[in-house]
Point group: C2
Chain length 360, copies 2
């Protein structure tokens, strides 16, 4: 079998996160860094030079020009959320497969417009939630899916906070209503919601309630908030996301027979090795002076960083489409569910922390 | 200096947990197991024989008889919560110092009646929340109190669940409305609330809201519930307590500069060594592919099990009173605050998950 040509990537914009993705595209065996576009040609040149672009990579002074390049298969779009609707739709219309940063849109109706464009063109859409692609993630999922080791899911708690500095809190796009207007909910909260849905097999909750005490900046952008999610069958989840607390990223999932803990789910502590803790039918010794059995640590070593695995997976899907397959609907479906719940948390905050029904 | 005589303990009832406390009283250097009472003399005899009571220990066939014994300084009362009011008040009136199991009462007004009796008699009251006395607890508190390592407290999440078997769910006193009518909230939830208040320096929240989806049994006793707590200054906390999920007992506290994790706060995994994890100003490496610095594990070795340290501390306070000091008010004060918040969670559930103001 002939080796197939790598999928040719262009990057829209020179966001900080694009540096990590440039490396990931270089690391992925089936992907190639072919172009970068910025509204400033100089900025794009400097970005390419600093981030390992090959000498033949094209440098564009506009996103349009990159999207018009017939030699680009796929784009990575780390743009401010308010620009997703326009550029994602245009990219799809130009037949570019689309690796889109999270949150995928300002709300689900915008995302549905993106989905329409993507479906019309038959291109692949995947969001940039890297941890979904870590080798640890299916290992954790195996545990959660195990009727003997974990049982039935009862509760999930997820949190993601980091302590933004004063410059971030004044100037970052994530605190600007016209750029990433969903603030900490769109950024950190996205991951919490995704992790909860992931643990719940992407079954949507029936009701979402934001917890009182959401912190907004003067422009009305969320800097910290919490929510609880409730399913028909009695499962529940809580989440907390914040720009105002020290870096913390936990999933705790409890089932009838087991417990999962992971404290670095979004960015593992180290790149080459990651772990999580599992307990099954944990109980106490006879006098209740210790645990029997105790939880244990599961260690996962990785071949490639999670972001390179994401690129590899995405490029595999693009390759399959080039070879006649249909786009994989799993990824846009879970993007949409994540956005739906995110919208419900936002709506609950806007309604004064009233319950909001989630309607698919 | 002459060695002072140990404090002489009597135990009211032969509850399962009294076995652990009998061992603890034997282990504590300043305490002595002197009596046990049960409504069944045979049961009390068997209990004393099985739990290391010295041969001179007295065996009583009624609680009254034990309380009338002038040679008993202090009683440990692991009675069903519904009996606390009667027996704790009587014990105080009989001038017995009182180590009272949690929850301390069915509600704060009952506890206030107990406090009145205790204050009138000048005896010491302490509740049986053992983990407060572990050597790890002040070490964790040092971290939380450190302006540089932890900063200002922003959020706490606490959970305690265990998977009760069908016999427990049918027959245990903790599922019976006339015995431990507060169910999982009074049992597991007590620890969660205590841990949250502990992390918040026992500052009471302004508002408590139970989360929807509390599970009650046919008799109306809580089997699982959650709540969020909200302070004036924006701090918040969530808790989940349950008899219906696998054993899990976490505190996660995030501050502006640090994060604390502990996953065995109530009963440490092992008796002789316990740990917790701390992160300070944790962040990412340059490309956001790992953490820098990473959290670290703090290991604490213990001289005595936490329950023996509790007995030792309690007996020290009793000894001080015998030597002329006043009772230590710290312990009943935090018992009362814990009960107040517990009452608020219960009231919120009873009101259909409406916010309840906590009034001291």
């Amino acid at each position: 079998m002939a080796v197939e040509a790598p999928i040719r990537f262009g990057i829209l914009g020179c966001a900080e996160i694009a540096r990590k993705l440039s490396r990931a595209i270089n690391l992925a065996p089936n992907a190639e860094l072919c172009a970068v576009a910025s509204r400033s040609l100089d900025k794009a040149k400097a970005f390419a030079a600093a981030n390992g672009f090959p000498s033949h990579a094209k440098i564009y002074g506009s996103y349009d020009a990159l999207l018009d390049d017939p030699d680009i298969d796929a784009v990575y779009a780390p743009l401010p959320t308010s620009l997703h609707l326009y550029w994602a739709v245009l990219a799809a219309k130009k037949n570019k497969h689309l690796l889109l940063e999270k949150p995928v849109a300002l709300n689900v109706s915008e995302f549905d417009a993106i989905l329409d464009a993507v479906e019309s063109s038959g291109v692949q859409l995947m969001d940039g939630t890297m941890w979904m692609h870590h080798a640890r993630t299916p290992a954790m999922k195996d545990f959660l899916s195990d009727a003997d080791r974990f049982g039935q899911l009862k509760t999930v708690h997820a949190c993601f906070s980091f302590a933004a500095d004063s410059d971030f809190l004044k100037n970052d796009i994530r605190v600007k209503p016209d750029l990433d207007g969903l603030g900490a909910l769109g950024d950190a909260g996205w991951y919490c919601i995704r992790s909860i849905l992931w643990a719940a097999n992407f079954e949507l909750p029936k009701t979402v309630i934001a917890l009182p005490g959401a912190v907004l900046n003067d422009a009305g952008v969320i800097l910290a908030c919490g929510a609880s999610l409730h399913w028909e069958d009695g499962k529940s989840a809580t989440l907390h996301c914040s720009f105002l607390s020290n870096l913390t990223m936990d999933i705790t999932a409890t089932g009838t027979k087991g417990t999962l803990h992971v404290n670095d789910f979004i960015i593992p502590f180290q790149e080459k090795e990651a772990y999580f803790s599992t307990g099954t039918k944990t109980g106490f010794d006879e006098l209740v002076t210790g645990w029997l059995p105790q939880p244990s640590k599961q260690v996962i070593t990785t071949d490639l960083p999670q972001e390179a695995r994401m690129v590899r997976e995405f490029a595999n899907l693009v390759r399959a489409i080039k070879n006649g397959s249909k786009p994989e609907t799993k990824w846009p479906t879970i993007s949409r569910k994540t956005q739906l719940v995110l919208d419900a948390v936002k709506a609950s905050i806007d309604k004064g922390f009233k319950p909001v029904e989630v309607v698919y």
